[in-house]
């Protein structure tokens, strides 16, 4: 009988994830034991507290990087630290939006339109389950880009996805649409998880190992069955491309973005993208780097159609959340060029881009939460006409975020675009750069159209108004816009920081 080997977990490296998980568990206990009255404030404190604590802890361990934890199944290297930092910061900003409980139904289990629902809404109580759910999702997101073997990767994927499916269905208004979005997200997500597992199985069959290092060794050795490798890459990619919302696996994006409560949309649009691209970068930059002849051509085609499709279809959107959804698809395409670049500058650029894009996304959706009429949020773009008259503050901020998405200089988006395209060019993918530049021009059109709508059209008297944001929402908006401008004007410190830290252990 073999001795039981006590696994060495390296708790210090895992501590940010553990702190967030701990916070989530405390949150569950609060739901069980505290009275409804004190729950909102207690939950908010625990959530923000654990996220900030995790961020501080991450800062402390940043130089203990290039290590693995939990017996090699989690890699805490420079890239992980940067991704986790981005996710935590984005989560903190998004939680400030989530704290505005206006957006959530009170009793998620009540059938839409039923007496229970009406009673629950009239009771004036607040939904607080969303906080521990957020923390669970964050923990999954922290683990996803850090995962160093396929099993952990899958666990993390489910860990981040399951809470998000639930959260997408919590909208207070238009509940049927919200629930439909949640169901759609869940079903398609389940499919993509299946694809992911299928791919993982093939890669295991190819290399005889589930660890990324083992797969890398097999790819470098080139001894295995190539069909298994190709099938593995294909199916694994489908699972990942689904999560990042790349064409043709993007179909869920607009519906879910539109149906989910806006703060949740902000959170998942920004943070999921970081986590999913983080994992994708790790897999393609380490395990599959030497097989790049096999995946690069297909990936390039996907990047090209994703950029073009997202930009072109966004033009036709009449709903601001759907427009931002298609814009996120286009940005997924831009980010894919960073994956395809497969060089150090591509990694640096992708990390910078993810952070800059995530922050601007939270800010943009934050502005969306402010525009209301009697039936709740107004997302119909026609009703956004003349927003600058109603609230110069909101309109100016939103215009700033749109300009950042469009990649206008002096915003973070421009530095991101420049760095990611130059990385792609450096790796010889000139066609990607050309397509990227052209679709940026197309994308600029619909961003500008919204600016025209807000600033140059007269407001109709249709009851649309811009509410005065709560202190938390306001601080999110201000912080996101300051970061967006600052990274455009003086990005050197962050770029240096990323440059010095970003690397994958192999």
């Amino acid at each position: 009988m073999t001795d039981f080997i006590v696994p060495k977990l390296s708790y210090v490296q895992l501590s940010p994830i553990l702190i967030v998980l701990g916070g989530a568990l405390i949150g569950v206990l609060i739901e069980a034991f505290l009275s409804r009255k004190v729950r909102p404030i207690a939950q908010l404190t625990i959530t923000l507290g654990s996220l900030i604590l995790a961020l501080i802890q991450l800062w402390h361990i940043r130089h203990e990087s290039a290590l693995t934890a939990a017996m090699g199944s989690v890699a805490i290297d420079g890239a992980t630290i940067l991704m986790q930092g981005s996710i935590l910061l984005i989560a903190i900003l998004a939680v400030a939006l989530i704290a505005d409980n206006e957006h959530f139904t009170v009793l998620a289990a009540a059938v839409p339109g039923s007496p229970e629902e009406r009673d629950s809404l009239q009771s004036g109580e607040k939904l607080t389950e969303v906080f521990p759910l957020t923390l669970f999702a964050v923990a999954g997101m922290l683990l996803f880009p850090a995962s160093n073997d396929l099993i952990t990767l899958f666990v993390a994927l489910e860990m981040l996805s399951l809470p998000l499916y639930l959260m997408a269905g919590l909208s207070r208004r238009r509940r049927l649409m919200s629930q439909e979005a949640a169901l759609k997200y869940f079903l398609l997500g389940a499919f993509s998880s299946a694809f992911f597992l299928f791919g993982a199985a093939y890669l295991y069959g190819y290399s005889g190992s589930v660890s990324l290092a083992g797969i890398r060794a097999a790819v470098v050795g080139g001894s295995g069955n190539d069909v298994f490798l190709l099938m593995g890459i294909a199916f694994l990619s489908i699972g990942l491309l689904f999560k990042v919302g790349a064409v043709p696996f993007h179909a869920w994006t607009p519906d879910v973005y539109q149906g989910a409560p806006t703060p949740i949309t902000a959170f998942m649009a920004a943070a999921t993208k970081v986590a999913a691209f983080g994992a994708m970068l790790r897999i393609f930059y380490t395990s599959l780097a030497n097989a790049n002849w096999d995946w690069r051509p297909m990936m390039s085609i996907i990047a090209i159609i994703t950029m073009l499709f997202g930009s072109v279809v966004a033009i036709a959107q009449r709903d601001v959340k759907r427009m931002l959804a298609y814009s996120s698809i286009a940005h997924a395409g831009f980010l894919l060029t960073g994956v395809i670049a497969l060089n150090k500058s591509g990694l640096d650029a992708s990390i910078f881009y993810l952070f800059a894009y995530g922050v601007a996304t939270v800010g943009a959706f934050g502005v969306v939460t402010l525009v209301r009429d009697s039936s709740g949020e107004v997302t119909d773009l026609n009703k956004w006409a003349g927003l600058a008259k109603r609230s110069p503050f909101a309109a100016t901020l939103f215009a700033g975020f749109l300009l950042a998405f469009a990649g206008i200089p002096l915003t973070s988006g421009f530095i991101g675009k420049f760095s990611i395209f130059s990385a792609a060019y450096e790796s010889g993918n000139k066609s990607l750069v050309i397509v990227g530049v052209l679709s940026s021009a197309i994308a600029a059109y619909f961003y500008i159209r919204v600016i025209v709508l807000m600033f140059f059209k007269d407001a109709a008297d249709d009851g649309t108004s811009v509410i005065i944001p709560s202190i938390l929402t306001r601080s999110t908006l201000i912080i996101t816009s300051v970061i967006t401008i600052l990274l455009g004007v003086y990005p050197a410190p962050l770029l240096n920081f990323i440059n010095s830290l970003a690397s994958f252990i192999r």
Binding site: L403, L410, F421, S422, V437, Y445, I448, V452, F456, L495
Partner: protein, 505 residues
């Protein structure tokens, strides 16, 4: 601190101060804007005096590391060509503010916002001409679009939304093509000794002729949209028609010069071989612009559109002068940029007064202004004469230099271009005759003549046009060394000897 940086900071500080004012104090905002732009103008004149005309390299250079990861520096400095354009911008800015004293009141937003946009724009204009780092240039080149976009869309008339969007999309498309070329240069520089955006270093890069041609096109299309050259000009008449006269002066008088300036500074310096390859094509486009712009100007019924088409014709001349690849052509083109700035400003400013008084921009609505408002009519007549390059006025000198410079190498282009001068007489004299002479049209009887403020605003424009017509050498002294330097750097030899600064006197 360096002069250029201070000059760029000055309008920004002004804008910040104005943004702190309450919205109701629009008069104070105007006065502060005027004060700031005057200060900048004085600063630029001091700089011009301190400029050493015996040197060919950049002066007032200042370099700081900005984004070291990408080898990007904040690096500014001017040669003669850039200096002349900065002088043009700095002089026109206070004139525009003074001339369009009431322009800001008809917009969607407060006058305060208008002047903040104008001042921010001035900072960016100085920046775009003085940037010595390609990345920095691009940042200004693109960021500049945003204030102009809001100036057109927020304070213009008629189809201002559509015009503003058209302007922005055209410019962004060109800018993004240029970005692709810039990225390519950046990567090439990384392969050949380290990432940099320093223009001197970039001009030494080795690249295949295909690469050079493609990258050249990326830059050239961006500049040709900006300049604008036929067939990429269609945004300009719309923008000029919708913008306020003041904005039009900034747009046609200064901003579009970034296009022709970019051709000299970037296309020729970075891609001399490709410039040679494309010269025939570009000359054809330039000549088409000259003739096409002139013909369309003749046919215009709207005064603002007419001025816009005359500008397309003039930009054809400037482009022709640049790609003639002679130092005479270059000096002429640079001087042309300066003079065109003033003659267009005169046309738009006086035309703007006429239009705001009459409440219409249709030429047929005017008539007999000579009798009702003699000073305004004479000013417009004078502006028109300057635009058709009457000998004795400044634009004659530059047009002559361009044609002579072109003729020595490309006689056919020069000869066809000369027809543009004949057509210019038509497109100026027809509206002058219709608007100023003849019987007084109904509705024009009660128009008031220029007031003191307006006279003060137009007087320096007229003075400069006359002075430079008789004595262009102060400017030519600044321009000539830089022109010769650019030509030799691009590997061309002058077919003629060094130009005499007294030419065209």
């Amino acid at each position: 601190m360096n002069m250029l940086t201070s000059l760029m900071l000055l309008p920004l500080i002004g804008a910040l101060l104005i943004s702190a004012l309450p919205t109701t104090k629009s008069l104070l905002a105007k006065q502060m804007t005027l004060g700031t732009t005057l200060l900048v103008a004085i600063g630029v004149i001091v700089m011009a005096i301190r400029f050493d005309t015996s040197k060919t390299d950049l002066q007032f250079v200042e370099t700081h590391s900005w984004i070291p990861t990408f080898g990007i520096n904040y690096s500014v400095g001017v040669d003669g060509i850039a200096l002349v354009l900065i002088i043009l911008s700095a002089l026109l800015a206070p004139i525009v503010v003074l001339a369009g004293w009431n322009e800001s009141s008809g917009g969607r937003w407060s006058a305060k916002t208008f002047y903040i946009l104008v001042l921010v724009l001035e900072t960016m204009i100085i920046g775009v001409f003085s940037a010595n780092d390609l990345f920095l240039f691009y940042v200004f080149f693109e960021a500049m679009l945003i204030p102009v976009y809001f100036l057109i869309g927020g304070y213009g008339t008629g189809q201002r939304n559509a015009a503003a969007v058209k302007f922005l999309i055209y410019s962004l498309l060109g800018g993004l093509l240029m970005l692709a070329s810039i990225i390519a240069l950046y990567v090439l520089s990384g392969e050949q000794g380290g990432h940099t955006f320093n223009i001197n270093t970039l001009s030494q890069l080795q690249m295949s002729s295909t690469t050079q041609n493609l990258l050249f096109l990326g830059f050239f299309i961006a500049f040709a949209i900006k300049a604008p050259l036929w067939p990429l000009h269609t945004w300009l008449p719309d923008a000029a028609q919708s913008a306020t006269p003041g904005t039009s002066v900034l747009l046609l008088g200064i901003l579009d010069k970034v296009g022709t300036f970019g051709m000299i500074r970037y296309c020729l310096t970075l891609f001399p071989e490709a410039s040679k390859t494309f010269t025939p094509l570009i000359l054809v486009l330039a000549v088409i612009s000259i003739i096409y712009g002139a013909f369309l100007a003749i046919g215009q019924k709207d005064l603002k559109r007419l001025i816009a088409f005359t500008s397309i014709s003039h930009f054809g001349f400037i482009t022709m002068g640049i790609f003639a690849m002679t130092s005479q052509g270059h000096s002429g083109a640079t001087l042309y940029m300066f003079n065109h700035g003033f003659s267009t400003a005169a046309l738009f400013i006086v035309g703007g007064w006429m239009m705001s008084r009459r409440g219409s921009s249709k030429i047929s609505d005017f008539g007999g202004l000579q009798r009702v408002t003699p000073v305004m009519a004479w000013s417009f007549f004078f502006a028109g004469m300057s635009s058709l390059a009457l000998p004795g006025l400044s634009s004659f000198v530059s047009e002559f230099l361009v044609l002579v410079g072109t003729y020595t190498r490309y006689p056919v282009a020069a000869i066809i271009g000369t027809f543009g001068i004949v057509l210019a007489a038509l497109y100026i004299l027809i509206p002058v005759q219709r608007a100023l002479h003849g019987p007084t049209m109904p509705g024009n009887e009660a128009l008031s003549d220029l007031n003191l403020r307006e006279k003060i605003a137009i007087a320096p424009v007229i003075a400069i046009i006359i002075a430079l017509g008789f004595y262009p050498s102060p400017l030519l002294n600044i321009i000539n060394p830089a022109s010769t330097h650019t030509i030799t750097q691009a590997g061309f030899k002058d077919p003629l000897a060094q130009i005499d600064p007294k030419a065209g006197k």
